[in-house]
């Protein structure tokens, strides 16, 4: 039997980390699995590439968080090269030359906060405890298979009941805080706790990452909680660097998948899913090849999954309509720098913070303005930035004495019509980033050997995610839980038999978590596939 005619149990479209996770779990269950990735490397938005000779960029993503220990363990990822080095903490320079920092050691962090406000330092541990409590309260919800409220069925009702008794078990006070955090703005929520503006800013920035919302937009408190979830399991899953760049995470999962017997093919873009008698039976590649499998699993975003890979006409019109309403709204870009040396932040007293994340979010108003500047179709004149210099802990990333700096930038719109063509948009956006960074690290411009600027549009072009949203769609209440990606189709299935979805556009959403991939597999197995 030649390989073309080989039949697989499962074909995964897209070798992003969720597709790879699904592949690994299916292979582990003894399924014959094939992953098809359109690019030359696996990883999707989590890749490391040597764009400039000698310097390895984590091209689209920047830090690793949220990967649940359960997945790390079940897939034995450390054996396959997963090695996360926790970040030193965070450093936030302020506009008046002062700064605020946080450290891996909570006592150090409290001391630092006390420098700004004794009251806030006193309340900070109470606040963190509550956030972890709330994260713990939400976590079981994240792994409940979302019911369809329009037609819950017996299983759905059981889930709803479990959901209800889970909420009851939290007790009233925690339930109220949960309601609040699900609905409020990060700023309003944090203001109920803290008085120091820059402290609120450093927390609020977590609530805006990956959304096109500002710290004062309702809905951002939930995103803040979403990120606390990643920190639940002790220091090991703190935000960190993966050795060799974030791509190393994808490669570890890929290696695990291979070790269970999965086959991974790169440079294999899928044209569409082959459907016979209302049932997915295989995929057609762009090169004309056809591959057949019992189940087809899309790791792509909902629009690609439903509107590009299959003919819309085969789908119920209300689903097509709902997908057209799905909100992507890429809001972040990336700037990767090859540097001739370390940048100098005059506000940085403790040089160990070079190994921390340098966050450009000096005040709540700064973040809010960054949002307001961009939200009518532009980019922030002075953007929010999360910078890391992974070469300070991982010398394999740059030649000796040189460094790579990975800058996550928000906000940039997918369309920025007032800034000329796409090349001009990228150019002006990149300049705004460097000019702003230079306000806080004046020598940065002299150090730049190479600069890679990536807009949301670029992410769409290269990685294939619609509108370049790294979370495959906004994390908003109307696109969460049983409504992610859309009500009625939140259970990893599609109206086409044997065609499944497993990307970040499914519950519980974005971040390098692998959870959608893992949960999709549970459903596939439940269907007897």
């Amino acid at each position: 039997m030649n390989s073309k005619a080989k039949r697989y149990d499962s074909i995964i479209i897209g070798g992003g980390h969720n597709g790879l996770t699904a592949a690994a779990y299916l292979a582990k269950e003894g399924r014959r699995v094939l992953v098809l990735e359109k690019r030359h490397i696996v990883g999707g938005a989590a890749v490391t590439e040597e764009i400039y000779p000698g310097f390895k960029y984590t091209v689209y993503s920047y830090v690793v968080s949220l990967l649940p220990p359960r997945i790390i363990q079940e897939l034995q990822l450390p054996k396959h090269g997963l090695h996360i080095m926790p970040l030193e903490g965070a450093f936030t320079p302020m506009e008046d030359g002062n700064y605020i920092a946080s450290y891996a050691d909570e006592d150090d962090t409290l001391e630092e906060i006390r420098r700004h406000s004794k009251r806030d330092a006193d309340i900070y541990p109470v606040f963190s405890n509550m956030m972890y409590d709330l994260a713990r309260a939400v976590r079981p919800i994240l792994t409940m298979i979302p019911p369809n409220p329009a037609n819950p069925g017996l299983e759905g009702l059981r889930t709803l009941r479990a959901f209800g008794s889970h909420l009851k078990s939290l007790g009233k006070e925690k339930f109220y805080w949960l309601t609040k955090i699900m609905t409020m703005s990060a700023y309003d929520f944090l203001s109920e706790w803290f008085e120091t503006d820059v402290l609120i800013a450093t927390q609020a920035q977590i609530g805006i990452i990956g959304t096109f919302l500002g710290p004062k937009s309702p809905g951002t408190a939930y995103v803040l909680l979403h990120y606390y979830l990643g920190e639940l399991d002790g220091a090991s899953s703190n935000w960190g660097h993966q050795r060799g760049g974030t791509g190393g995470v994808s490669e570890a999962i890929a290696s695990a998948a291979r070790s269970f017997g999965a086959e991974i093919r790169c440079n294999a873009p899928v044209e569409q899913v082959i459907i016979k008698d209302g049932q997915a039976v295989g995929v057609a590649l762009e090169n004309g090849d056809e591959v057949y499998g019992k189940t087809i699993v899309s790791g792509c975003d909902p629009k690609v999954t439903f509107c590009k890979l299959v003919n819309e006409k085969l789908l119920p019109s209300d689903l097509v309509d709902a997908i057209s309403k799905y909100k992507f709204r890429g809001s972040s870009g990336k700037v990767n720098l090859a540097l001739d040396g370390l940048p100098d932040f005059p506000a940085m007293q403790d040089k160990a913070l070079m190994r921390a994340m340098q966050e450009i979010c000096p005040s709540v108003a700064y973040l809010e303005r960054a949002y307001d500047d961009a939200k009518y179709g532009s980019f922030s004149k002075r953007p929010f930035m999360g910078c890391i210099i992974p070469s300070t802990v991982d010398p394999t990333l740059a030649p000796p004495g040189k460094h790579v700096m990975s800058i996550f930038v928000q906000y940039a719109s997918y369309d920025m019509p007032t800034h000329g063509d796409r090349d001009q948009q990228r150019e002006s956006f990149g300049n705004a980033v460097i000019d702003t960074l230079a306000e806080f690290a004046p020598n940065i411009k002299d150090l730049i050997l190479h600069k890679q600027v990536i807009t949301p549009w670029d992410i769409e072009q290269t990685v294939g995610i619609t509108e370049g949203n790294i979370s495959h769609g906004e994390l908003m209440l109307d696109q969460l839980f049983f409504m992610r990606p859309i009500p009625g189709w939140a259970k990893y299935r599609t109206p086409i038999r044997n065609y499944y979805q497993c990307g970040s556009g499914t519950h519980p959403g974005g971040g390098i978590t692998g959870t959608p991939g893992r949960m999709a597999v549970a459903e596939i197995l439940k269907d007897g596939n």
Partner: protein
């Protein structure tokens, strides 16, 4: 009865505050045979729903205007038409003015509106009736939710089930599909919701403006503005997204009618009677102390003021759990509107309006050409400044009720958004002129001769709303209308059943479910809850 006996009279119920909800609670409780005393600190009852003569011969609805969306069963139960309450109908619902003299009119009649919309977008004209039909069903669910006493989530007891059945039963026929859609839509922004239906910025602007009347937030903000849109619809008297009509004689007539109804049912109403303390004995509310030193006893005390005033000013904090006080302190008020009233010599000519001008101007006139315009009006308040290009909601009540001004003259009342209560610089008392001028300038772009028709104007700032009308932070809804202050969270989580942590103390104002608007539902629901407990 001798005066001595009167001093020692123990009322069944004391109501603090003579706003419309207080009056309605008083009316319902008196009707149920309870002895009721209502205490109002100002010289006139009505709260934010009053008529005032700011300029001789010209009468204005100071804060709340229009028809006030009083729930029809409240009108019937309290026999209000007998006491002079009458709504003068207006049509169109909305006249949305556009720069350059163009305009979009939204009529009661859906077909007539379709024709109007087709001038801007054929696709939107086709979408409009479906939109209306769909949202009518969803807002019916919201309307039924308004009528229930919120459950004390996450605990749902047998008691709640009966209450919830009262909600589920009428909407069951609508099908799960609509309930599922409500769950999806409720946390959205009105901007996203309208994007799902319409293409024309003008159509979206006209509808979105109505949605944020009771919101402190901009139309692009989620977890708030689709909710206020549905809220407006659920309380409207048009089965559309906005109420229409004018209370004859201004809003004061409405609250005067409520006062007369309550009195005729046996309630006592005392004005110039400022309550300074709710008296508590053995953890139970037993009456109130007035500013003049009078002590009045009652079995039950209802506060028709907001939650912060009630719990932080009127109750001794000794009786309250710090956790509870923290929730009270966390209530978001953030008033964002001002009112500007004009006494006009004549009706100015609006650009582009030629025929039927008076009729076209008789409903809500909006200056909110696009969603972006409104959102941009909102943006500055995040930094503590007011909009330089404000969203205006204008009414000319004299077009339907000539008794409000001398013959041939007119009154015009404008709601101005967004005006933050908390300014990062300056003081509201110094900005009255500026705001008046801002409104005049904005209006003059649409009615070039407007400033020449002005005889007098009066600006009510968010600070005035707090200081004169007792609305903390100038929020007429006694707290923002957002998802975190919704239903079982309103006004304070755990006490959304019109109740308080002190036995015998209740709340009934807009601070409680279902919130803002002169609906009277809070007053009515609270009285129902009290009667249930008084049994």
């Amino acid at each position: 009865m001798s005066s001595l006996n009167k001093q020692h009279k123990i009322y069944d119920v004391i109501v603090i505050g003579g706003g419309h909800n207080g009056l309605i609670a008083a009316g319902y409780l008196a009707k149920a045979g309870r002895t009721v005393l209502l205490l109002e600190k100002r010289k006139v009852v009505g709260g934010a729903a009053i008529t005032e003569e700011f300029y001789s011969g010209f009468k204005f609805s100071s804060l709340a205007g229009g028809s006030g969306h009083l729930a029809p069963d409240v009108v019937a139960d309290l026999n209000l038409s007998q006491y002079g309450f009458q709504i003068l109908p207006t049509d169109p619902l909305i006249l949305s003015l556009l720069p350059g003299g163009n305009h979009l009119t939204i009529w009661h009649d859906v077909n007539r509106t379709i024709q109007e919309i087709s001038k801007f977008s054929q696709a939107d004209a086709e979408a409009y009736p479906n939109f209306i039909q769909w949202m009518r069903k969803i807002s019916r669910i919201v309307a039924e939710m308004n009528n229930i006493i919120p459950p004390d989530l996450p605990e749902v007891g047998l008691n709640n089930l009966k209450e919830l059945y009262g909600f589920v039963n009428p909407v069951r026929g609508l099908g799960w599909k609509h309930i599922a859609q409500l769950v999806r839509i409720l946390p959205m922004s009105i901007s996203d919701l309208l994007d799902e239906w319409f293409q024309s910025d003008i159509v979206k602007g006209a509808i979105a403006a109505s949605a944020i009347i009771y919101s402190s937030l901009g139309p692009q903000e989620i977890n708030s503005t689709a909710y206020t849109f549905l809220h407006n619809w659920s309380i409207s008297n048009t089965d559309l997204f906005r109420s229409s009509g004018q209370v004859k004689g201004g809003m004061g007539t409405l609250t005067q009618a409520l006062a007369m109804a309550a009195k005729s049912l046996g309630a006592d109403i005392r004005t110039n009677a400022k309550v300074i303390r709710i008296n508590i004995q053995d953890e139970k509310a037993v009456g109130v102390t007035l500013a003049n030193g009078d002590l009045i006893s009652a079995k039950v005390v209802i506060s028709a003021t907001d939650a912060r005033t009630t719990f932080l000013n009127l109750v001794d904090p000794y009786y309250l759990d710090p956790k509870f006080i923290r929730h009270v302190n966390n209530i978001k008020y953030q008033g964002t509107m001002a009112r500007v009233h004009f006494a006009l010599d004549t009706l100015s000519k609006f650009s582009g309006l030629n025929e039927r001008t008076e009729q076209l101007l008789s409903g809500h006139i909006q200056i909110a050409p696009t969603v972006t315009y409104i959102q941009k009006a909102y943006d500055p308040i995040k930094y503590g400044s007011y909009s330089k290009q404000p969203y205006l909601d204008i009414q000319i009540p004299t077009l339907s009720d000539s008794s409000l001004a001398p013959e041939g003259n007119h009154t015009m009342s404008v709601t101005v958004k967004y005006m933050p209560y908390k300014l990062s610089e300056g003081h509201w008392d110094e900005l009255r002129e500026t705001i008046g001028q801002l409104v005049i300038n904005t209006l003059s772009e649409y009615a070039p001769d407007f400033d020449r028709s002005i005889r007098h104007y009066k600006v009510i700032t968010p600070l005035d709303m707090e200081q004169v009308y007792n609305l903390p932070e100038g929020n007429p809804s006694h707290g923002e209308m957002t998802m975190n202050q919704f239903m079982w969270m309103r006004p304070i989580p755990g006490y959304a059943q019109y109740s308080a942590p002190i036995d015998g103390l209740y709340l009934c104002s807009a601070a409680t479910h279902p919130g803002g608007g002169v609906t009277g539902i809070g007053g009515r629901n609270a009285s129902r809850q009290i009667l249930k407990n008084l049994k």
